[in-house]
């Protein structure tokens, strides 16, 4: 009971302070627009996907951009533990008579909530890239966003608990966040990746998140393929190897990763000072 109250309190603070930071909200809208409109449109105009010319690059990339935004938003949320440490607020929490694991879990829920807000912003942009939406799909996307973000925030909590200053944040970005993103299949499909890279991609939990997002995002869109036949995008993508696993498999892997990372995060945080 006490633990629930703590989780709620920590979550509420994350949410409240997020809503007060207008700059973060602007970045949340601006960054995906930048990726979709400039990078996505630019690449689409210049090249097509190897062996799957029916799926244009922008559509392929859109679920990846959702994955990327969730990744960045979640890491940023969990890294706030370091801010709290530098600005002293963490001490107020650490000296309180509360179980520390609950504080960590509260952080994870906070990060996941903010990532869901990020996803809503991206879902609104779907028509820009030629993706059809349905209510069910939006609900599924939100659940997936929560799951992915919970896993990533937990990972961030593990790192932030061991990190003493904001200076090392750049290192985390370069050696953890960017590789996680590049290897997730968000930018290029695993099917056309070099052989040596494939095991790395399989080991990246975000790969399954992005695969799950593709399963859902492509489910409502029909495209015209050779011979003027209308086909669901999800089928075309699966045949072309752009979607590798079933949604239920992806969700199972993501859930397992999220649970494992959350337990590890709570444990590391409660051991930290």
């Amino acid at each position: 009971m006490k633990a629930l109250k703590v989780i709620y309190t920590i979550w509420f603070r994350e949410y409240k302070t997020f809503m007060r930071e207008k700059g973060r909200i602007v970045a949340m809208i601006g960054q995906p627009l930048l990726y979709l409109l400039i990078l996505g449109k630019g690449i689409t105009a210049g090249m097509s996907l190897k062996g799957s010319s029916d799926v244009d690059y922008l559509r392929f990339m859109y679920p990846g951009i959702i994955g990327m935004s969730i990744l960045f938003t979640s890491i940023f949320s969990s890294i706030s533990i370091i801010w709290d440490r530098e600005f002293g607020f963490l001490k107020e929490v650490l000296v309180a008579p509360v179980p520390r694991w609950a504080v960590a879990v509260g952080k994870c829920f906070g990060g996941a909530t903010i990532a869901m807000i990020q996803s809503v912003i991206l879902i609104v942009m779907a028509p820009l890239v030629g993706i059809s939406l349905s209510v069910l799909m939006i609900v599924e996307l939100l659940i997936l966003s929560f799951l992915i973000s919970f896993a990533v925030t937990s990972l961030g909590v593990i790192i932030a608990s061991r990190m003493q200053s904001m200076q090392s944040f750049q290192m985390v970005m370069n050696f953890l966040v960017m590789p996680l993103y590049f290897l997730s299949g968000a930018m290029f499909p695993m099917s056309s990746a070099p052989t040596w890279m494939k095991p790395l991609m399989m080991a990246d939990p975000l790969t399954y998140g992005v695969d799950a997002l593709r399963n859902v995002v492509f489910s409502e869109t029909m495209i015209v393929v050779a011979g003027n036949v209308q086909q669901p995008l999800v089928e075309v993508a699966r045949t072309a190897g752009l979607i590798r696993w079933s949604l239920s498999f992806d969700v199972a892997v993501m859930t397992a990763s999220a649970m494992l990372l959350a337990v590890a995060g709570a444990w590391v945080f409660s051991k930290s000072n």
């Binding site: 703590v6 929490v93 000072n273």
Partner: protein, 329 residues
């Protein structure tokens, strides 16, 4: 008065460095107890051990009857903490910071509003409850932290250098609040300071240097240790015999400093008329100086307290270092 804090042969080492070198003291409920010593003397480390933020290397500490090692949660519930460097979320309002604290300390919703009004009134911040903490001055933040530390009605309030980096007016105001707190609420206050003049406000003072307690007593008793007031007599003209005559008459050791004569004497003020009548016509001036805690500190440790006006940043750096070394255990 019952004891609320008991510390026995407490030791804390950070690697090779001994921050606290075996200290013992007791604090009675309802008193203002001060830890006086220079930066790095072991004050903050002791507070952190009592607040269960650091584990002692050896020794024992109990607070409100709970051992800090075996019952950390009970200890945490019994204390309020005001850290050396601020620990508020400045993106939240004063009220939200208090709400956050109330939630973590299980203050029921039904009494929260009333308690909040109470503590905010105590530190004169009632009209600023809806302002973001970001807009507060250093003194206001410190007062809000004191209010927050009291919200859950702790048995002991820890104030670690509560007036560091604040202007004299704010320092006085904070002391006013601390005394009011002791008188009206009966909270035990444990504070650290390196300002001598502030330590005078405490009921008992422990003088700490290099991790060791040199003396524990009331400020008055500590000053009595010095052996009375300092009497400074100025002679008329160049009275070469005055030094000798003073020493012979009162059986004291007289020191000539510039053109004046210094010596120690119990209750110096009552001594003035005697000097005037005994040395009528030979004395131009008499000054009586009461010994200060500065003198006590000098006597006990052999060196003056380093009167550095530690800036808030310095204090934070020091805090961060201790914090880090704690994390590396």
């Amino acid at each position: 008065m019952p004891e609320i804090i008991r510390v026995e042969s407490l030791v804390k080492k950070f690697g090779e460095f001994t921050a606290v070198a075996g200290i013992d003291f007791n604090i009675e409920a309802g008193e203002i107890f001060g830890f006086l010593g220079p930066n790095g003397a072991g004050k903050t480390t002791t507070i952190k051990i009592l607040a269960t933020l650091l584990k002692p290397t050896s020794g024992k500490a109990t607070l409100a009857g709970y051992d800090v090692l075996t019952h950390p949660n009970e200890v945490r519930q019994s204390i309020g903490m005001v850290f050396q460097d601020q620990s508020l979320d400045d993106r939240l309002t004063a009220e939200e910071n208090l709400w956050f604290h109330a939630m973590l300390y299980d203050v029921p919703n039904s009494v929260f509003t009333e308690r909040m009004e109470q503590v905010l009134k105590l530190v004169d911040l009632g009209d600023r409850r809806s302002s973001l903490v970001r807009t507060f001055s250093g003194g206001m933040k410190r007062r809000l932290e004191i209010a927050r530390g009291l919200l859950h009605h702790p048995r002991v309030l820890f104030l670690d250098e509560p007036t560091l980096g604040l202007d004299p007016q704010t320092r006085n105001a904070i002391w006013h609040h601390v005394r009011r707190l002791r008188d009206e609420v009966g909270t035990t206050v444990f504070m650290t300071t390196h300002y001598m003049d502030e330590a005078e406000n405490c009921d008992h003072i422990a003088i700490i240097d290099h991790g060791k307690i040199q003396a524990v007593d009331t400020p008055a008793a500590l000053k009595r240790m010095i052996g009375g007031d300092k009497v400074i007599v100025g002679g008329v003209g160049s009275d070469a015999d005055l030094e000798k005559d003073l020493a012979a008459k009162y059986n004291v050791e007289v020191q000539k400093v510039d053109s004046e004569f210094h010596f120690q004497m119990q209750s110096g003020a009552e001594f003035v008329p005697r000097v005037v009548s005994d040395f009528s016509g030979r004395v131009r001036s008499i000054q009586i100086k009461q010994p200060s805690l500065e003198d006590v500190f000098l006597r006990l440790t052999g060196h003056a307290i380093r009167q550095q006006e530690g800036s808030a940043i310095d204090a934070m750096r020091q805090g961060v270092q201790l914090w880090r070394s704690g994390g590396r255990r």
